[in-house]
Every structure is written in structure tokens, then in C-alpha cells.
């Protein structure tokens, strides 16, 4: 048996830049442009099989592959963290197939692919934020038929969503939806912001371009910079961007979204920043939380 690609370089050259073939990239790029022209509207696209399972961010990966240039610097986060399996493997995937630079620093990245968080640091005009989306249709759990939900979007018939939020209030006394909190974009389309915590919803009116890719569901949507994104609510129950009422135990930040970590089987808990880059940068700058130790001493 002969091996076609014998060296690592030859193996890498066997891929087209950023893995996907050009015809596929053009199809995805056209969908992205229509998505930007109709903010919040889900554009159908012919999602491809990727060398990773559905649910691992195949939609986001395809969108990233279609927008990446060789001079880009890519950051990938999973629930805010750069060092989790999903983030590490997607970063390595693009290092190998696109040969691009990668970073863990939000400010140094030109393209950021994210699963379920928006970085704490404000994004700037040159940056692109790519979301991995599991269920793009905000009305799906209220109306299982795609034919019906498409009709509802075309007629701007979003009463059902308000009924759902109202039922939250009648049952729990407040809107209990804590993540994937529905938003209305430019007073037209109700959109699923992907399962980001509602703490992140106000950040969606940003300077960067936001692209959303749902691989299994074959949808792409987008929000241009400086676009109005309003979280749905009621006059007497206004939207509230909530987080754990605590400061980060490592860096002391009281303005960041926190993960609750169980430390032992006696119920000891610790709250830490979900955004690892934000936490590390603060600790580097000398901030110390209640259970943290100064950065210099923590280096073994």
C-alpha cells in the first residue's frame, strides 16, 4: 500500500485552506451576507458533515471556516473557558487546516468562536464573534412544526413567546428563563441568542459582527454591529441581566459572570469567573479574590 501523504506538511497541504471546499464556502458566505442584510432571520444553508459530531459546534466551525483569512488570529471559548475539550479541539482543528495563529486573549483575537458565552471584555469593530447554536428556532419548544414557526416569523406572530414568559411569572413569580433568553432584533425578528446566560444579553448590542451557525439544524443568522437587540419582557416585569450574587473567589471581580464549582463532598462551593481570560488578566494585574492567592505564589 502506498501512502500519498508522507510528511506532516504534505498532509496539511492535502486540505483546502480552512478545511471546506470553495464551493461550500461560497454557499455559506452567501448565507452569511443574507443573514447580515436581514438581522435575526434564520437563513437555511446546506450544512456539511464535519469531522466532529453534531453538538460539538459544527455550525460555528463551518461559519468560522467560511470567514477565516490566513492573517486572522482565532480564539475559541467553551462556556467562557479557553482550555476545555471543545475549545481546544476546535482551535487545533483550525491550526491544522488553516495554519492560522491562535490566542487565548480576547483583545488579540480577530475571530472568536464561542459556545454559550460572550467574552467579558468589550469587543471592537474589527472583531467577529461566531456562536455555536444548538437550536436556532426560539419558538421550537412552543411550536414543533417548522412550517408553522416559519409562518409565525413571516407574520411577526410572537404572542406565544410572551405567553411562555407570562407562564414563567405566574408559576415562579419572575421570568425564570436564565439562558437562551429570547431577543427581538431591530424590532422585527425574535431570535434565539444561543444558550448564553441572560447576563450576556445586553452585550449583544456591540461593535463587532455577530454570526450564528447551527450545523445540525442547518441555519445561519447574524447581527451587524450597532444593531438594536432587545430582550423580551413586560412593563411590570422588566428584563434583568442576573448573575450569582457573589464576587469571583480567584480574582475578586464582581462584574463578571460566575461559575459555581463544588469543591468537595461536604458542599463547599467556590465562585469563579466563567471567562478564563478575563480572570487570568485580572489576577495578572494583581487582583486577588477571597480564596485566591497572588499570581506569583501560585506558580509552581
Amino acid at each position: 500500500m502506498t501512502h500519498l501523504y508522507t510528511t506532516p506538511e504534505a498532509e496539511m497541504n492535502a486540505y483546502n485552506f480552512a478545511y471546506l471546499d470553495e464551493q461550500t464556502k461560497r454557499m455559506i458566505r452567501r448565507a452569511i451576507l443574507k443573514g447580515l442584510a436581514i438581522p435575526g432571520y434564520q437563513v437555511p444553508f446546506a450544512s456539511r458533515e464535519m469531522p466532529m459530531p453534531y453538538g460539538w459546534g459544527t455550525g460555528g466551525v463551518q461559519v468560522s471556516a467560511a470567514v477565516l483569512m490566513p492573517e486572522d488570529t482565532l480564539k475559541v471559548i467553551d462556556q467562557g473557558a479557553d482550555d476545555t475539550t471543545n475549545a481546544v479541539s476546535i482551535r487545533k482543528f483550525f491550526e491544522k487546516t488553516a495554519g492560522i495563529a491562535t490566542t487565548e486573549q480576547t483583545t488579540k483575537a480577530s475571530v472568536i468562536q464561542t459556545r454559550h458565552r460572550i467574552p467579558e471584555a468589550a469587543l471592537s469593530e474589527g472583531q467577529i464573534l461566531v456562536y455555536q447554536v444548538p437550536i436556532p428556532e426560539p419558538l421550537r419548544f412552543l411550536e414543533p412544526s417548522e412550517v408553522e414557526t416559519r409562518k409565525m416569523h413571516s407574520l411577526e406572530e410572537y404572542g406565544l413567546m410572551h405567553v411562555k414568559l407570562y407562564e414563567d411569572i405566574s408559576r415562579h413569580g419572575a421570568i425564570a428563563t436564565a439562558y437562551a433568553y429570547p431577543v427581538k432584533v431591530e424590532e422585527r425578528y425574535v431570535m434565539d441568542p444561543s444558550p448564553i446566560p441572560k447576563f450576556d444579553n445586553p452585550k449583544m448590542e456591540m461593535a463587532a459582527i455577530q454570526l450564528f451557525g447551527a450545523g445540525r439544524e442547518q441555519r445561519i443568522y447574524a447581527i451587524p454591529p450597532y444593531t438594536q437587540v432587545v430582550s423580551l419582557d413586560f412593563d411590570d416585569f422588566p428584563f434583568e441581566a442576573s448573575k450569582a450574587d457573589h464576587a469571583c473567589d480567584l480574582c475578586g471581580a464582581d462584574d463578571s459572570y460566575l461559575d459555581e464549582v463544588i469543591m468537595d463532598d461536604k458542599g463547599t462551593r467556590m465562585f469563579v469567573c466563567s471567562d478564563t481570560d478575563y480572570c487570568a488578566a485580572r489576577r495578572h494585574a494583581g487582583h486577588v479574590g477571597a480564596q485566591g492567592i497572588p499570581e506569583k505564589e501560585s506558580v509552581i
Partner: protein
């Protein structure tokens, strides 16, 4: 055999189309900005920017309309070799290219359907010059306002009222390119 038609495509398609797409995406996300693109050398009257846009976005899956002087054998042959897009009448086109005068009234291009507003045409309008000297633009992608030298005002105002339906525009001149999606509101001068 006429070999000129074989020339003028991208020399490194994956990289050049990625760079061109980034420019086009930025322009449709930030109406009023003007960027330069390069890499394609299409036959006249196609501008470099229009040629780059066609090679980057079009392929055999995108029916294309050529308006007026742009519908000439040289352009048709170049598109057939480098892009392979079928040339169709305007009502069936996903993309169209030509001068504003040659387009005439743009009312018979596809503007999408209420359930599929994305099934609408993108018009590449070739202009003599492209500058930020023109009517004020407001809308998604624009922080306060921008300005752009548009060939017309009423047409784009009427197009914006169709939202979420409507046409999307790219303006090209030489190597310069700008964008105007249907969401942008053009103010009267």
C-alpha cells in the same frame, strides 16, 4: 482560440476569496464604508471590484443577470470559464451586475418572500466614482450615521420600506467597493 478569457481569475483562490469575502461582509455589515479589493482582472466593462465580487460569491448555483453593456461576449465567456454562473433574465437572477442606468427600474428583481426573505437578488452596481460624498445613511451596522455617493435616493428609500423583503446592493468602482443592505435608511438630501 481566444486565450484571454482564461486569464484574470484568482491565482490563489482559497486565500484571495477569503480576503475578498471579509471585505464584502464588512461592507454589508457596516454600510457607508468603502474598501479596496483585488486579485481578479476581468474584461471591460467589468471593474476589478465587480470581478472579484463575482468570483468570490457566484458559481454554477447562482443565476446571474448582466445589464446593458455588461452583457457582451467577453464578459459572458469570462464568467463561463471562471465562475460558471448561468446567465438569466432579471426576474430569475440571484446576482446582477451593470451600471445604474442599465439596470433601469429595479422593481422586477426578486425581493424574497415573506417566509423566505433571503431569496432575494443582490445587485452589483458599477459606478464611475465611489466616495463618501452623498446622502446620510442610518440603520443596523451604523453607529450614528455614514454617507455614501449613491446613484439614486428614492429607489433605496423605497427598497428599505420593503423590509424584511428587499434587494441588497454592492457598489463597485475600479478596485473600490461599498455595500447597502435593505436595512439601511437613506435620508433625503
Amino acid at each position: 482560440m481566444d486565450t484571454d478569457v482564461l486569464k484574470g481569475g484568482f491565482s490563489n483562490a482559497p486565500v484571495q476569496s477569503a480576503q475578498a469575502f471579509r471585505a464584502i461582509m464588512t461592507l454589508l455589515a457596516r454600510p457607508g464604508e468603502i474598501l479596496g479589493v483585488q486579485g481578479a482582472m476581468p474584461p471591460a466593462p467589468l471593474s476589478v471590484a465587480a470581478g472579484v465580487t463575482l468570483i468570490t460569491l457566484c458559481d454554477p448555483e447562482t443565476p446571474l443577470f448582466l445589464a446593458g453593456a455588461w452583457d457582451c461576449p467577453e464578459v459572458r465567456k469570462w464568467i463561463a470559464f471562471h465562475i460558471g454562473a448561468p446567465i438569466v433574465p432579471r426576474a430569475q437572477a440571484h446576482f446582477a451586475v451593470g451600471s445604474w442606468k442599465d439596470f433601469g427600474p429595479v422593481t422586477d428583481f426578486a425581493i424574497g418572500t415573506p417566509q423566505y426573505p433571503d431569496r432575494s437578488a443582490t445587485l452589483i452596481v458599477e459606478l464611475e466614482t465611489l466616495s463618501t460624498d452623498g446622502p446620510a445613511l442610518r440603520g443596523p451596522g451604523i453607529k450614528t450615521h455614514t454617507t455614501l455617493s449613491l446613484p439614486d435616493v428614492e429607489t433605496f428609500q423605497a427598497n428599505a420600506t420593503l423590509f424584511p423583503l428587499g434587494l441588497d446592493f454592492l457598489f463597485t468602482s475600479g478596485t473600490s467597493i461599498a455595500g447597502l443592505p435593505r436595512t439601511t435608511k437613506v435620508e433625503a438630501t
